[in-house]
């Protein structure tokens, strides 16, 4: 009976997470288009609904009703699998992201997370890298030169930033003494981990931008050089899943991970703990601010070359991450 309750609870929570994330991603597209428009002094979507509020729904209808073309010479299995492989792992990271402390409604204790694994951060890292395989597979399976260049570029960049990303996450883990994201948040009730881990935060910003393919590191699409990059041969919803997974869901989820690691998760902002705001809202405010920061970077910077990115990753970011481990170790020894 208890097992059945757990299964039902987890299923319902997963469904809610997936559906809400899907809708949220749809509206994040609107947010991004509005933001990009105003940065370039144009209003963005304006016509469908008040201030373009229904534009994501119109876009979804359009993308879903498009003809789904599959070119003749593609590797069919990989071609179909790639779009799912980019999308599913990105949304699966949500399983370990804690949105707040457990609370009670109608005598029922609700935990606002699907599961509290003791290796949660490793799982997030693993699925984050897995979703990149979608891009690489898409580039390979398309059997066309531009997607292949895009996929190979992404693979080259992947090797660089994943190492730095892994080392950068060591600092908060050392301070919290746990891999569980919930325990990492609880360890930050006194002071956020951004204080000794500022170097790791820079590295994580770099790695998230590279992993989600946002502008300074968007070598895999590079629309000016590679037509559409790895999505050149895709149409319809198979095409729509890629930007949805990379630009919106992955950015959002990785922002959540970064908030948990460095900005105290659902802890209130400093000096604002007296405000009557529930912890889930605090969490979403922080994630939203970080997401907007990524948008801001995206619509500001030009693109790096692949060799510059790998150089940056290996020569700057990896030493920074290692130096951060030293700083945090000294901090733990001398301060606490």
């Amino acid at each position: 009976m208890e097992l059945l309750g757990t299964v039902i609870g987890v299923t319902v929570k997963s469904l809610i997470f997936i559906i809400v994330m899907f809708l949220a991603a749809a509206y994040l597209t609107l947010l991004e288009r509005k933001f990009a428009g105003h940065v370039q002094q144009r209003p963005g979507p304006l016509h469908v609904g008040p201030h373009g509020f229904l534009q994501p729904i119109a876009d979804a209808l359009k993308v879903l009703t498009k003809e789904d073309l599959v070119p003749d010479s593609v590797d069919k299995v990989l071609f179909y699998m790639a779009s799912l492989l980019a999308f599913v792992p990105a949304i699966m990271i949500l399983a370990v992201v804690p949105f707040g402390e457990p609370f009670t409604i109608f005598g029922l204790e609700i935990k606002p997370y699907v599961t509290d694994l003791n290796i949660a951060i490793l799982l997030a890292l693993a699925f984050g890298s897995l979703s990149i395989y979608g891009v690489i597979f898409a580039g390979w399976a398309s059997n066309s030169k531009y997607p292949m260049i895009g996929g190979l570029r992404k693979a080259a960049v992947l090797i660089g930033y994943e190492v730095a990303l892994g080392f950068a996450m060591v600092g908060p883990i050392m301070q919290a003494g746990s891999f569980s994201l919930r325990e990492i948040v609880e360890a930050q009730s006194g002071m956020w981990f951004i204080i000794p881990n500022i170097l790791a935060f820079v590295v994580i910003i770099f790695a998230i931008l590279a992993e989600t393919g946002r502008t300074p590191f968007d070598v895999q699409e590079a629309e000016a050089e590679l037509v559409g990059g790895y999505v050149t041969e895709y149409t319809g919803m198979k095409f729509g899943l890629f930007p949805l997974a990379e630009w919106y869901i992955a950015t959002f989820v990785l922002s959540a991970i970064a908030v948990i690691l460095f900005f105290g998760g659902w802890q209130p902002l400093p000096l604002m703990g007296w405000l009557p705001i529930p912890d889930i809202i605090w969490f979403f405010i922080k994630v939203f601010l970080l997401f907007m920061f990524f948008l801001w970077v995206h619509w500001t910077l030009p693109r790096y070359r692949v060799d510059q990115i790998t150089e940056l990753a290996w020569k700057v970011m990896l030493p920074l991450a290692l130096a951060n481990i030293l700083v945090v170790a000294l901090w733990i020894i001398f301060i606490g």
């Binding site: 933001f35 428009g37 105003h38 940065v39 370039q40 002094q41 144009r42 209003p43 304006l46 801001w296 970077v297 619509w299 500001t300 910077l301």
Partner: protein
């Protein structure tokens, strides 16, 4: 001999390198733009009036008593009534055109010896709107109007004929013949978007 000047790429100082100074400068620019007003026009609902010199769809001026002297000289040899296109089929526009085959001009000789223009077609699909034809026209007949919405569903409707052009010319002259010839007009919408322009 072309001289080449080699310029050293400016090196970043350590301060700029450590604190991402260029990055922060760029972010400041985009943030300032974010707070500015948008400069766009909601096109199908809100249309700007182009300046009079705008090079839009072609038109023919008609015989209405305002002809230049060059037309008065040749007038008695032509079969043109008042209100008809004042084209004399001199082929000067075709000579000046970079893509001459977009013109299809035909004229016949009537039994009384006068010349009549029976066909003046322009295929605007090949036109680049350079305006050389209007400068070449000796009788101030071929002009360019401020009409810029030229899209249509069939290629055939992109070809202008002499009657349409005469009608469009009458319409254009009625609207804007007396307007002083300035590069920009004192338009409310224009000044809303770009501010008032001072004329010397």
């Amino acid at each position: 001999m072309v001289k080449i000047k080699y310029v050293e790429r400016p090196e970043l100082t350590n301060r700029e390198r450590i604190f991402f100074v260029d990055f922060i400068k760029g972010m400041r620019v985009t943030f300032r733009n974010l707070l500015r007003k948008t400069v766009t026009t909601a096109f199908p609902f809100e249309k700007l009036t182009p300046p009079k010199r705008f090079r839009g769809t072609h038109a023919h001026r008609v015989k209405n008593g305002k002809e230049p002297p060059s037309f008065k000289v040749i007038e008695k040899f032509m079969d043109i009534d008042t209100g008809e296109s004042r084209c004399v089929a001199c082929y000067m526009c075709m000579q000046a055109c970079p893509v001459p085959f977009l013109f299809n001009i035909e004229a016949v000789q009537l039994p009384d010896g006068r010349k009549k223009v029976v066909r003046f077609d322009m295929n605007l699909l090949n036109c680049m709107y350079c305006g050389l034809c209007t400068e070449a026209c000796p009788v101030d007949c071929l002009i360019m109007t401020d009409i810029y919405e030229t899209a249509s569903y069939h290629r055939a409707s992109c070809v202008l004929h002499i009657d349409d052009m005469a009608k469009r010319g009458i319409d254009f002259d009625r609207r804007r013949y007396d307007e002083p010839d300035r590069i920009w007009i004192d338009d409310d919408q224009r000044s809303k978007l770009w501010g008032q322009i001072k004329w010397s």
